[in-house]
Each structure stands twice: as structure tokens, then as C-alpha cells.
Amino acid sequence: MRTHTRHELLKLTEAVIEDYATQEDYARLEAIVLSDPECLEFYLKHLELHGNLYWDAAGRGHSLSIPESDGMETESSPKAVFPQKDRRRAWAPRRISTIAASVLTLLAVTGIWLRISDNRLADPPVLVETDDPRLEETTSNGNDSSEDSIVEVHLPERSPSQPQDETLVNNSHQPQDQPQAEVNFTDDQAVVEFINHQLASTWNDLGIDPAPQASDEDWVRRIFVDLAGRIPTPAEVKSFLSNSSPDKRTDLVDSLLASREFSYNFASVWTNLLVGRSREREIDREELFAYLERQFGENRAWTQTVHELLTATGSAEESGPANYLLAHLNNEAVPATAITARIFLCEQLQCTQCHRHPIVSEWGQNRFWEINAFFQQTEVRNTLITDQKSGEKIRKRVLTDEISPEVEPAYYESLQGVMQVAYPRFAGEDVTPEESVSLRARFANLFASEQNPQLAVAFVNRTWQQLFGFAFTQEVDDMGPHSDVSHPELLSGLRQAFEETGYDVRRLMRWICLSDAYQLSSTASEDSNLDEPEAGGIPYFSRMYTKPFSAEQLFNSLMIAAGVPSEELTSRGDAFEKRENWLQQFFIAMDNEENSESTTFDGSITHTLMMINGDLVQQATDLNQSRVLRDIVVDPKKSETDRINELCLAALSRYPTEPELEAIRKTLRNQIRLRTSQNIPAKVAVGESLRDLYWAFLNSSEFSVNR
């Protein structure tokens, strides 16, 4: 099945399930399903999945096919899971019957085909107790009380020996082991060509014309924002534009990857992912940041970093990596479990804390608690330490383990209120405690290794998303059998390459930055409607997607726009402190045990007011504080055009086009005239009007995006 067919099929199936499919949708669905046995099986599987889901939501099938005397209603039942007269229950059967009826309708149509086909489906579906298999009647009258129209659908069991099973719902999540045996993944050039080939073959299949190459102006800004976390200075842009070497893009990627700013930038990205931006947690964010900066600076293997984050001990102030678990060990390590899975594996396990994953049936509650059990020996101790200088007692939070050969399992309640026990188990291995090694260290050995391929898959997916704005899955951190991967072979190949090069973070970024797709313009070609992930479609990476600046990128870029030397941005102490304080205005820690936070840095009015009136923009547009602005305004040798050009370059890393220049010149002159007419001296009028122009460049929608 082609990716786009799969996507269309998924959309149509969703429309049927959610009850908004049109006649055309049904017709189209029928055509697709009948055209390809794989599609048929996909469709059936999907409906079965949703059927189960609604069934579960309705109280595990209560009163549907199970007789009225079900145990849940009896006196002895300890806890009712759902109240008796619940609309959901009435609603679920209708949905079930809708879904079941959809299956039936299609089966009726495909019945003949099924019989003559080469036994792809080992057993034809068995249908029981159905009154009326006609889809339209069942759905359109919205009759809630039709309990007797319940049907049961038994789909054939999938046996592992059937090869076609591999191509079904979970093919994309677990990349095949040796998908591209012929590619030498330790050869940089070969990996880049592999990426190019994989993307281009989809473009060919779909007839997508990729966007043209990005101009050097656009590209230099892009690579600086992505890797250094800030816009380039005018000097950096000019130097790149005037460089005529054919290798200049490669050279710039290499020099940025080796720079201090790169490690600073990614340390900041990962500090945010690991502990959030808000400073309300009792941890030392800066120590964690410093640790990550070292790891990225020395290009440590990703497995090493993850291992250290999971096993670190010590106090917040003395052990950088310990801050990760110090932040999340609260509430029986539930956040630590969920966040470890979400950040490092891009998997959403938090809902399996209380119940089986609604879509991924193999993710039971036990899976969550088996991981959680590894943290049971770990604790945060509050210790009073006497400060050497002041003699004062200081309270310190210290991460430590109570290592013991006695295992203390994790206890949890199932939805039915039954107490359950989980013992530490990961990647198919049961782990028994030892005398000298902590359970989480044993966990880290399994987790941060090739025994856990999802670690590499997740890192590749995240890195790709950081550089392209979209991941291979719709949500970067919601991978799993239920979520489609846009380019499964590419993801799998990159995973393999990442593993074979020893989890080399910089090399992975280098491959992506040197790929053809990363060189493309963000201006879409005419048939771009095929490639619009912004509107919810599959990303084909046939153009660069515009990415809004993160709060950190905006802060750094405004500093550069004010002429602050880039070295100062990566200095610690005051500069770090200033940025941290500035960020606090946009992030609020939520007062709950999931350690989440909310933000107003999202294009809201609060965000906009900061751009119109905030201190950083004021600084950048103040003649006394902004070196960039002062140099451009004060120099008497510069012409009006020079000044407009250079202000544009300083803010947007490009020169204005002719029509832009013309329009800006006109407005600028009007404003100068208005000022001089109010008896403002000409020199001041020019200076003030240029300040306003620079303000406008910084406030333009172009400034705050990376394209």
C-alpha cells in the first residue's frame, strides 16, 4: 500500500467511524478497499480496533452482548466502574452497530471476492445476532435504544506466520531489522544519498515537484537558527553570500556543528524537554543545562547521555544529570515513568497508568508499572548541609538509591479497582535485584542500548522534527502501532545509521542538514497542496516548512539584532540568568503531579505585546543600546538605500527586493517629513524614523519565523 493511499484510507475510515462520511466518501472507500486486499485488511483491522475501543469505553461490553446479569451489576460488586444510566452506554451500542454495519456492508460487497481470493483471509468473518446489516438505516435515525441490533464481529486471528501481517497496522512502528542492507550506513555520503533517494522516490510516485533551492540568504538564516539557535549577524550573512566555494554550505554546517553555540543551543532544547522551562521545581536547572552542554560539546553518544540521566545520583547543585529524576520522582515516580517514555521513546504511556492503552492493545497497564517498578528503589532525600563559608544550614535534595536484594514491586489499581503488582521488566527481560547495582542502573543498561531500538528511532524522529518542523509521525512524541509513519524506510534506515555510528548526534544532524530536502526553499511550488502538513496532511518534505521561533531563538535573535556579540550569548552567569528570567513571563508550571506547564509564547496577545513594547525590542531599537542600529544610523557616509538595506539585513538576513525598497522608501520619507514639519531637526527626524523602520522589521511576521 502506498503511503498516500494508506493516508486517504485512514481519513475515510475515520470519517465513517466519526459519522461524518458523505456518500462520495463511502464510494471512494469502497473503491480503495476493493482494489487491494491489503487495504481491505487494513480497513477491517481499523474498524475492529475502534469497535473494541468504544466497547471498552462503554464499560467493557456491558449489556451489549453480555447478559444482563453481568457481575458488575450484582450486590457483591466492590466498585462500579460506570454509573448505571449513562449516556455513553446507550451511545456506544449505536457506534458499535455503525461500525459493525460498516464492516457488514463492505463484506457483503466483497463476499464474492473473498471466496475466490487466494485464501488471504484464512477464515471468512463470522457474523452473529444481527438484525439489520443495512448501514444507512442504522446510523441515520440515531436510534439509541436499539440494543437488539448489536452484532458481534469475529475477525480472523492474525497468525505470525502469515507474511502479509507484517505490512499491517504496526509495520511502520517497528522498522524491519535489515531494510536497506545494501546501504553502507557508516559512510556519510551514502547516508545523505539514502535520504535523498527515499524522499525523491515519494515525490516521483506522487508527482510532486519539489520546491526550488533556497536562496543563500534564506538558507544561511535557516542553518544559523536551527543549529546555533539565533539569526546570523549581518557580517556572517555577508561573508556567506560572498563566499564562492561550491562546498560553502557543507563548510558552514560543519563549523556550526563544532561551535560552542551548537552545544549551548541543543543543551537548552533538551533541558526544556527534560524538565520544562518553568523554574518552580526544586531543582538546579542550570546544572542540568551545564551537563548537557558538555555532552553535546563533546559529542557524547546519545546512549551515554541517556544512561547517565537515568542513573545519576547526588544533589541538584552538584550533579547535573541527577536533576532529571529529581524533577520527576514525585508521586510514586509516575511522572518519571511517563516522561521517560515520552521524551526518550516518543511514546505516550501516561494513560496506561490507569488503563490499557485505548488503541494499542499490547500496551497494558502492566507495561507502565513494570517500568515504574525500576524507580522503586530511588528516592529524594532532604539533607541539611552546613555551608562552609556562612556556617548556615542549607537544605539539599539528594537523589539516592536504597539498593537491596529485596524487590519492592510497584502496586497499582486496575480500572476494576483490583490491586495489582508489577515487577521490574523491560525489553522482554525480567530483572531481579542485586546486591550492588541499583534497579534503575539495570534499567538503563537495557534502555540505553540496542536492545531498545525505539531509543534510536525516537531520537531520529525528534531530530528530524527539530530541523524540518514536522516529524515522521503526526505528533513527534506519539509513536506506536497506532500512529502512521510517513517514511517508514527512511526512518528505519536513519535509525540503523544512527546505531551503527555509535549514536553520533552530530553526524545525524549533519546528514539531515546536508540532504537535498533541507536545501529547498520554503516557498511552495504550485502543486504544493499535496504537501501540506500544516493542514494536517502527510509531510513529504518537498519544501522547507516554516517554523515559528522558540522563545529561546527569539531571545537570542533579538540580542543579535541589538548587536550583542554572539560570544556573550553563550556565556553563563548573567547572560544565562537574564534569559531565564525573561522566559519566565511566558511559562507557568501547572499545580499538579504530572509536572506539566502552560505557555503564552504561542502568538497570543501576550506574546505580541512583548514584541511591540517589550524590553528586548526596546533595547534593539534604542540608539544608545543597539550597536547595530547606531552603526547604521550614525555613519554619515551611508545613503538612504544603504540604511534600508542594512536594517533589513540585520533583522531578516536578506536585502529587500526592489518593490519592497520602493515602498519602504516612500513611507520612510513621509515619516521624516511629518517629523520635520513638527520642527524636529532633520537629523533627529531621520534617526527616529529609521528606529521605527527597524522596529517594524523586528515586528514583521517574517522576523519571528525560520523558513
Binding site: L609, N613, K666
Partner: protein, 430 residues
């Protein structure tokens, strides 16, 4: 442009606000507005108080133990330490809520919420949007729905039509950033909104310049980024220059009003909410100061901290709205993401519980004094008809006169009914 400039020159000194605003249409053409705009505005504001509908949501973050507040279970092992007292309505509530008990003829309690999300983030999403989280679409929080439906029609409103005091709330989803909650802190201070250091003429010139640059960008192919940018700038500048910003200043109220609300942080935020509603803001969300995620020591915390503040603040709000004749136009909803376990845990706390819990709702013309729905003697299950967040919000939508068959379309073109097809609770609208 040059003609424009000449006109400006003659009027800028005594420029009226409307005139100013017209210029802010980022480079657009302008016409002269009414000279006495501000007085028109005052007249409008008076009108606002009389018949405009609005809603105040008091959010009890963390999930409040409603079994200890609105639906007590005396005699049950789950009953806890508090005794019920009678109210002016036909039901009893907790003894530590004596003030609001006196106003219960105006408020009702829905005791049969049964919502399945007992995880903070998911519960917060579900109770705000009426939809369970779904990775393919971000549903708008109900405040954004109200902003979209009512806010856009209130032309005289210069401040955002959805204000969230004390942070939190949720995303506007596919309704777009212009309907996002405008988040202010509990003192009503809004960063970067002051006009000091910048006169209006200066701001206007800057925006004109921005308009010149944006016109180039919007015309290029990057489509709606430019339009969204323009919309949010217009809103931000509206706000910076608006007299209505006074609504955020709860301190301007006389001392006796502040006393009425208990003279505490929560009371002050409710005063701000009332001022905003008075100005025409159709949806205000207030984060209760202090979390309700009471896994430990639930009774002490309730008795000494949460309940006294909630009680005096809410009672003040209901009385004040009543005295001003605004209660019939202002819906009040008090809830969090879920209730808490009837069973008391080993830390004398209660854990998350979504199966059977309560919310307080009233005003806006809804019936007061009623207890809707019922839970069993131990509070473990609903034994009457049960309700979902969509039903609560449908009830509010009914009160705000937002038609329930309103359908919004997601970014992927998928039509979605507001409040997820919920139905108004009959006992409240009859």
C-alpha cells in the same frame, strides 16, 4: 499616502481614539471616525451591563473533593469529617461553606457528573473542551467558543473577549489565536501593555511602517501567517490604547466592595472578573489561588484554607452580581478537572475520581436552589441520570443563547458540533 499624511498632520494633536484605531488597520485606508468616540463608548458600556450574556468559570485546579463540598455523605465510611448544613436551596452543603449556603437560591449543584478522565491533563482538556484528547485535532476550550460566537459580535469591546486570570485554561484549538485566552496575573498586571514611553503618534507611525513591510509578506505565498499576524497585532494595539483596560484594576473598587468578596486574593480576582464582564467580556476564567490536588491531609487543608476563601469569594460574587442586576445575564460555573475518591486514603487524602462528582452552576437565568442528580450513599456511583462536560457547557450555551447546533470546522475541514453534542440539563433550564 501623501494625502493621508497631510490629513494626519492637521488632526494628530487632538486625535480621537477611533481615528487612531482606523490608522492601525496596518497600512489600510482610513476614514475619519466619530469625534466623540469615548463618550459613545461609555454609553455602550452602560448598555452592556443590561443585556449582554457572559460566563465566569472558577477553575479548581487539581480536582476538588466535591464529596466534602457539595455532595456530603454523612453516615458513610467515605463521609469524612464535615457535617452538612441547610441552604436557601432545597439541598445541603458543607458546614464550612456558610456564606455561599445563603446564596444557594441563586445557584444549583449538579451531583451526577460522570466523566471518564482522571488524569490531570486529560481531565483539564475534557472538562474545558467537552472532547477527549485526540492527536489529530486540538479542540477549542469553551471560553474560545464563546469568544468566537459572542466576542466577535461585540464591536465596542476593545479588550480580548476571553480572559484567563491567574494562568491556565486551554488552547483555542482550530478557532485560532485571536480567540486564545488572554492570560493575566491575579493582580491584573499586564506586561508590556503600558503606553508610557511611547506616544500614540509614534505607535501609529510604527504600525504604518509595519503595514508597508507586511503588505509585501502577505502578498507572498506564505499565506495565513501574515493574516494571523495582522489580526493579533490589531488586537494587541487595541488593548494598549483602550480605556477598557481599567477593568483589570480591581484595586479601583471601594473598600466595602472588596470586603464583600472577603478581602483576599481570590475575592480580588473575582472582582476583576465582574469588572471584565461589566465591560462586555463574554468569558472570564478564574484560577482559584491554591491547588485542590489533595492527596494528603484533605480535611485540614479544606477547613483552614480552601473552603473559607472559596466561600466568601463566591458569595461576594453572587451578591454583587445580584445587586447590580447582572446575575441573570452572568453564568457562574465552579469546577476542576474531576472530583476525588470517596474512599479516604492512608494519608487522610483523597485521590483522583471522575466516576461520580459535582459542579456548582448558576446565574445567567438558570434555575437556582436545585440539586440535580444523585450519587449513592457512599458517593461511589451515580444513581440518577449522569452528565458529561458537554452537558454542562450545553447548559451554559443555552443560557448565553448560543445555538447548540452551531458547528465549527477544524483545520482539516472536519465539522464539529460545539460541546460535542451535549444537551442542556433540563432541571436547570426548566
Amino acid at each position: 499616502m501623501s494625502q493621508q499624511t497631510r490629513k494626519d498632520r492637521t488632526t494628530h494633536a487632538g486625535m480621537t481614539r477611533r481615528h487612531f484605531m482606523n490608522h492601525l488597520a496596518l497600512g489600510g485606508a482610513s476614514t475619519l471616525g466619530a469625534a466623540h468616540f469615548l463618550s459613545t463608548l461609555e454609553a455602550n458600556a452602560a448598555q452592556v451591563q443590561k443585556n449582554q450574556k457572559s460566563c465566569i468559570l472558577v477553575w479548581l485546579q487539581g480536582g476538588a473533593p466535591t464529596i466534602d463540598m457539595w455532595d456530603l455523605k454523612p453516615g458513610s465510611k467515605n463521609g469524612g469529617e464535615f457535617q452538612p448544613i441547610s441552604t436557601r436551596g432545597d439541598f445541603e452543603i458543607c458546614e464550612h461553606l456558610p456564606e455561599i449556603a445563603k446564596e444557594m437560591d441563586s445557584m444549583s449543584v449538579v451531583r451526577s457528573l460522570s466523566t471518564r478522565e482522571a488524569d490531570h491533563e486529560r481531565g483539564r482538556y475534557y472538562m474545558h473542551t467537552s472532547f477527549v484528547p485526540n492527536p489529530t485535532v486540538v479542540h477549542p476550550t469553551f471560553g474560545s467558543v464563546v469568544s468566537y460566537e459572542l466576542g466577535s459580535k461585540r464591536k465596542e469591546l476593545e479588550i480580548p473577549s476571553f480572559v484567563s486570570i491567574g494562568g491556565g485554561s486551554m488552547s483555542p484549538g482550530f478557532l485560532g489565536m485571536t480567540h486564545a485566552p488572554f492570560v493575566v496575573d491575579r493582580r491584573g498586571q499586564i506586561q508590556n501593555a503600558g503606553m508610557d514611553g511611547m506616544d500614540q503618534q509614534r505607535l501609529r507611525q510604527r504600525l504604518q511602517m509595519l503595514g508597508t513591510i507586511e503588505d509585501g509578506f502577505i502578498r507572498s505565498e506564505r499565506g495565513d501567517i501574515g493574516q494571523a499576524h495582522k489580526d493579533v497585532y490589531t488586537k494587541a494595539v487595541n488593548l494598549m490604547t483602550s480605556e477598557q483596560m481599567r477593568a483589570f484594576k480591581a484595586d479601583d473598587e471601594p473598600a466595602e466592595v472588596r470586603e464583600m468578596y472577603g478581602s483576599h486574593e481570590f475575592g480580588n480576582t473575582l472582582i476583576m472578573a465582574r469588572r471584565l464582564v461589566q465591560t462586555g467580556v463574554p468569558f472570564v476564567e478564574v484560577q482559584f489561588p491554591g491547588g485542590w490536588d489533595l492527596h494528603n491531609d484533605v480535611f485540614n487543608t479544606l477547613r483552614t484554607q480552601r473552603l473559607p476563601m472559596l466561600d466568601t469569594g463566591l458569595a461576594g460574587l453572587v451578591r454583587d452580581l445580584k445587586q447590580r442586576g447582572m446575575l441573570d445575564d452572568t453564568c457562574i460555573v465552579v469546577m476542576g478537572e474531576f472530583g476525588r475518591t470517596p474512599r479516604i486514603n492512608q494519608n487522610v487524602g483523597r485521590d483522583h475520581w471522575a466516576t461520580s462528582w459535582s459542579a456548582l452552576i448558576g446565574g445567567g437565568g438558570l434555575a437556582g436552589g436545585r440539586a440535580i442528580g444523585e450519587t449513592d450513599a457512599d458517593g461511589l456511583r451515580v444513581i440518577s441520570e449522569s452528565y458529561l462536560p458537554g452537558d454542562l457547557w450545553a447548559t451554559v450555551a443555552h443560557a448565553l443563547r448560543i445555538p447548540l447546533d452551531t458547528v465549527h470546522t477544524s483545520k482539516r475541514g472536519r465539522p464539529m458540533k460545539i460541546v460535542n453534542g451535549g444537551q442542556p440539563i433540563q432541571g436547570l433550564i426548566g
